[in-house]
Symmetry: C3
């Protein structure tokens, strides 16, 4: 199978190259909601982040759903009677309708066409189709190729199996100081499609690597690499006791394609994850769109169902269905770039830093302003730009350190970046001017320091 | 008295013709806040909707007001000394200041002019004036006619009577499953003026006919055809025990003239009637204006006085005082159209359907989404337009069916029309996926079905 | 010292002239945060408003601060070796860095330049600099003058003293019917600068004169003429028991320069002082800007520190730092005008009238509207403009007189000026239609009447 390698521009960072490389490496694997493709993908991710691979037997009842039979495929083709492969699974795994039942037959063209899917508007692209819960088979093919198929009969083979087996997903728990958890989730069930969702898989794998390496985590983290819908439902059904400790969550998807970052709010609408994400994205200075929750999309649908109702948002670039390459062979290795993956990764880091760093302080000197000058915190002669911003951040923290404003509240009210407010709070805490209301005296545990990329 | 007949365009519906016909039939009657004109009007409406006619004696104290003496008029004129009627009540009942005291005298022109009212800006129009609570008389006349009156003296006659009698209003109660009431109110005290308010009278009469014919009403309905101000005050003063069961209300007025529908919110500002009306009008796709409550206008002034404070809004087209024909002879049969009356009637029906159909559900499958596909509620291959909207409505209802969102809440949050959300809820209820929190098990009573017009 | 007299235009009012005259008279005095300049200033203000002059010893601990040594200055100069004063305190007290330590020395030009401050962008202006909490000295000089100083050495003298003494401020309490207080505060520590802040000093002095002369005050008033920052901190530290009775407050500053009025909200954001100020300024019809609180600015910083958190806003024109003349010799007598001072004074009066006049009423006739016509409060034939507005104000007050809406609430909801609503309430109270919920029966005490200017 030929693979297009992403040409890394000379200016690309190491991280951007690593993010791209993982996408490239995972691209050829034929994934589905079950089967060996998912297992192979998860094993590759284990080299980056410590993942436990979970297997749930076919037939397991998970809420209103049942874990389906496991699907595997070895080969598939449509051949002329002279033996030429006119549709060949080995050229692209998109050619087979995902979850097709096995078939081996000689069929007339007219009958075959009932099983062929094309994209007339994009005649050179192969569509991506699935038939998870329908006993059927089919091929996806470019409209151009279909136009050239004029023989009266073809030999057809899908060498797949649908048998009792397992649904497979990857889970990684990174414990922190607190049992409160951040849930990160991405779907790993799509075959050779890059933006949807090797982009999310790659960003989340390297985020996990970074989180695992942190010297101190205030919060715990749970990373789920799962098949879409049935995987999220399965995890939720198997872990009812975990739900109450999940405080924040993010679904990562479609992060390497074109367009600025898009944040979709959780069902709750203004949970801390929503506020942190909007704040971070607003201050990153790049194109940004914030959308309200709708009960359609990725696995936030399950996490935000009424009986679950977790504060889980979704981060993407141009959302699914709003770019023509979506669910086609054009969502390939040239469609995503390492720079965009890195940009998304950094946005996620910044969101995590807000979740980690948010805290509530009280001023130990609340009556009037403390005299900053005598502590060397104030330049007597006033100042421009950077220094002025620093002084304003000190004044904001002092003014709002009343036990009822978190650092994120302060950042929102002052329109200052969270990191600036957090630095000001750290400095004031050092000088004994404010106190973290949740820290007991003598507790020397630091908070998450700003560390470099991956 | 010559009557201009509305020429019904060939495309006009039966309902539009009926709405117009009633306006045409009621137009010649000389109504006032008391008297035989109101009685005749109510008797005509009784043919459409079952109305009880209430009589309240003159002198009855109603809160801060007193029911006035009853006014009736037989004829009125200003004649030249040669006997020519230059102002003639028989040509238009607007010629007499409504509630004029009787008079029969020969008066010099200069003195007569003290009693004449004109509209200099519209020289061919006759203004409409009243003197309910002042013992005086007068004539209204076009500026053109006045200009031609140059005789030194005229004979004047107003053959009216002001005597102890009754204030008359019409009331119709349509009981429903619940004692909770919807109040519909319109004023019936204006003489030959079409938009203000034979339009409201006609729309409300046919709404009543429709409501009375419904096989099932969840709510009860009370229709008041009353003289403006004193009529509303009288009803409120006589029915203090009714106030607590009125849950929603609407004053109907000025519905046949030009301009899109205008909804004026109740004093409460965001009562269910306000939300339902704004929702319905927003989704009808025609010009719409929503205004906040002000303590001036029609009988919503009384219904929304501080000690009454009922959730009563007002529906009209271009509001009173904002079109030049208001309170003049130009508010005639050519000023209102059957199509506009029908459009307003349909808007009212849609508002009633929201009030009837609103309900709160809980999902019986709240943990993750239920599998719609196995129930035939989901098309596996995705879809466009209509089908996509239907599926989205199912997802919205499932997602918000948590016992704390009403169907109107869901319609507002999803920006979908209420009827689509209601249909989705009905389908999901059939499939046992959601349950109406206020319906006891085994209760088979259906809700209001969408029925055709009148 | 030569003084530029403000040329009063012939159309200027008496008050505008008085406001200007006070600025002119105070202009030459060399004020600082301590010292005789403040004392002389306060003694002059005592002629207008009854002020007690408070003296707080150097070294007094006030929260996190210490009252500094008292600074006084007699003369200062830079002379050529031939005795020519090239920089002369007698020409402008801005020439000396405020709080400079004494010095008398011959210094080489290069060393002298370390102590000279200029404004290169405005070569003819002298900057204003201070060194309150640093033991240093310096001169401020125009860039032009500095360019002409080419001698190798100069004789330098600052005949100042920094000794234990007092911090001085002026306080005036005007008791009212209620112990609830309105705090008015302005800083009196700047030397020859007109807008910042002789403008605020003058407006507040004449406001005090007006308040003192009122025949009846519902609220009590406390006027503070204080050195910026340290003065406010000192007052707050000395008066902890007063804080709970301060209900509203306003810092007055920069009221005579260009630009419309700018209101900066208190830290609370929507306190009554904020609502009253925004309402008044909105209805004055001149340029207006409302800004949210930020913890930088004038003494509202101290009044709004987290442990104090008083509802104190700040009224100014173009705020400090947003006009080039700020803290330079160009903020002189030609920079402020009497008309602008008077306009600001009137705005303050109107704000005070809202605070004084706000009250909550209940209708004594809450069931439907009362019949205004029989009380002569309603013109039967409708009306235009002024009369229509008057009637609408009566209807608004009657409609919202339910014990839960204040007059300011009504003014805000009706978009009518507070004074119109208040007049309507007074009229309705006279007619026995409404009752002040906080007035006991038989209490004849009137509320603040609208009186003429100063």
């Amino acid at each position: 199978m030929s693979v297009v390698e992403l040409a890394p521009p000379s200016t690309q960072s190491t991280l951007a190259r690593e993010l791209s490389s993982l996408v490239t490496e995972l691209f050829p694997i034929c994934r589905s909601i079950t089967g060996d493709g998912v297992r192979e993908t998860l094993r590759r991710i284990q080299r980056i982040v410590p993942l436990s691979i979970q297997e749930v037997p076919s037939g397991t009842q998970v809420f209103d759903w049942t874990v389906p039979r496991e699907w595997n495929i070895r080969d598939a083709w449509v051949k002329t009677l002279t033996g030429e492969r006119v549709i060949d699974f080995r050229a692209s795994n998109l050619h087979v309708v995902n979850y097709s039942t096995p078939v081996r037959a000689r069929v007339p063209l007219a009958e075959l066409k009932q099983h062929l899917h094309t994209l007339p508007d994009y005649p050179t692209w192969i569509p991506y189709k699935t038939s998870y819960y329908a006993d059927t088979w089919g091929f996806c093919v470019s409209a151009e190729r279909l136009a050239s198929m004029n023989d009266p009969e073809y030999d057809v083979c899908i060498d797949s199996s649908l048998e009792d087996g397992y649904l497979t997903y990857g889970e990684c728990v990174l414990p922190g100081e607190s049992a409160d958890e951040v849930l990160l989730s991405c779907h790993v069930c799509h075959p050779s499609l890059c933006n949807d969702n090797l982009s999310g898989v790659s960003v989340m794998a390297f985020l996990g690597q970074w989180l695992a390496a942190l010297p101190h985590r205030r919060l715990s983290y749970r990373l789920l690499f799962i098949p879409g819908t049935i995987g999220a439902i399965t995890w939720l059904a198997r872990n009812p006791e975990r739900l109450s400790t999940i405080r924040h969550g993010l679904v990562l998807t479609g992060l390497g394609g074109p367009g600025g970052l898009v944040y979709k709010r959780s069902r709750r609408g203004n949970a801390l994850i929503d506020r942190a994400s909007v704040h971070v994205l607003t201050h990153r200075g790049t194109a940004l769109e914030v959308r309200d929750f709708v009960p359609y999309g990725y696995d936030e649908r399950q996490y935000c169902s009424p009986g679950i109702n977790l504060p889980v948002g979704c981060l993407s670039r141009t959302p699914f269905g709003e770019y023509p390459e979506y669910h086609t062979s054009a969502d390939n290795l040239t469609f995503v770039t390492g720079d965009r993956l890195e940009d998304a990764y950094e946005a996620c880091q910044a969101i995590v830093r807000v979740l980690e760093g948010d805290a509530t302080y009280v001023s130990l000197n609340p009556m009037c302003e403390p005299q900053l000058g005598k502590r060397g915190l104030y330049s007597a002669s006033g100042g421009a730009g950077e220094r002025r911003d620093r002084e304003m951040s000190l004044l904001w923290v002092l003014n709002l350190a009343d036990g009822s404003h978190s650092l994120l509240d302060m950042a929102e009210r002052s329109s200052m970046p969270f990191e600036r407010i957090r630095s000001a709070a750290a400095l004031l805490e050092q000088h004994g001017l404010i106190r973290d209301v949740n820290k007991v005296a003598g507790d020397a545990s630091g908070r998450l320091e700003q560390t470099s990329g991956a």
